[in-house]
Amino acid sequence: MASLTVTDDQVGANTKAKVVQPAWVRVMHWINALAMILMILSGWQIYNASPLFDFRFPREYTLGGWLGGGLLWHFAAMWLLMINGLAYLVTGIATGRFRKKLLPITASGVLHDVRAALTFKLGHDDLTVYKYVQRLLYAGILVVAILIVLSGLAMWKPVQLYYLVMLFGDYPAARYVHFFCMAAICAFLVVHVLLALLVPKSLRAMIIGR
């Protein structure tokens, strides 16, 4: 009676039409994508004025034309990023979405997913359930996002928000934290975009919801 045995795949197929990404997630995701790109490109412009390391970002990938322009973009886009990000966190917690989608994260689950992915056995039938690796990355990037905003605020207002500077040690340390958070976000972006392209229906879900 094989036909009566319900497999995970069939459940996935039956629920395929249900909403994977509710409207608020989609709207905030794309606002965040725009804000993030503006912040990164203008941030590279600012970085170039006084590099922390022995390299500069190519001019073609910077926003603003010069330091002053980069700063204007950065401190304009920060409002978009912060207001949208805050709304996302509040809604994510209030609706229980974070808890439902991102928890639990177990070491064995993550290891299992990594092994399955490396042997090409990781399925993508039900987009509504995040894999353990996905959960880990999405939860991790939320932490990075909070850190990059806090270190950014510390650098913007090192006197008024002195306690934030203390959190990172001192002003130069906050700069390094800000930089490495940016690097982590860029690395995340590469993987995130690549995987979205490999599983196009996930991209579709982020646009039309299902």
Binding site: E60, F75, Y162
Partner: protein, 260 residues
Amino acid sequence: MAKRPFLIPGVDKRLLIKDSIKTMPDLARRRFIAGGASLGALTLLTGCDVIDSSSAETMLAKVSKFNDAVQAWMFNPDALAPTFPESAITKPFPFNAYYDLDDAPDIAAADWKLEVRGLVDNKKSWTLEELYKLPQVTQITRHICVEGWSAIGSWTGTPLRDFLKLIGADTRAQYVWFQCADKDGYNSPLDMRSALHPQTQMTFKYANEILPRAYGFPMKIRVPTKLGFKNPKYVISMEVTNDYKGGYWEDQGYNSFSGS
């Protein structure tokens, strides 16, 4: 829709902007803050009206003004910039300006006078000798540059608020506007609340020595609650005013409040 009637049909306005930028002198190019010139912006914003340099520039200028207001609201006149022990001082303390050290103003102490203008009771000019007689304090604070780097230095001088009281300045005025001796006429407005901050100082000494030429001899205004470019060097006059008179970098697009 005839919003931009001067555009020639069939001409790609992005390329037009790009080409015209090439013909701009460097300073004008710098002032072209919209970033419509950078490929990053072009690829990102293609098709958006925001690519239009003037509308982007207007939008960014508005947000910058809004940020001025937010920062003024956040400014706590009692919040002190952290101070450091002498061992924390950055050596050598960097020289930084839009010109080389060789081109920095070379002022003879005897010829110099601090001019006082605007909403003050006593408009007399001050010689260096007279200023040196005022009570001085030393503070070791972090100088943070708009470029991102920072350095800790030791500055000695008279709290600006004491001097403003001494000359009978109207402290209800909006700004103290400083002018400097360098050839391009550096100037910068300082909002009155920052001017009255206890750590804002008319600086005459660096590391307990008479302020060297590199750091702004004979007088610098040290404002540890502002970014470095709001700390004018080689100051020759101050004006207490309600008018926003702009500043060397502020006019080019640096945020005017730039408080830390």
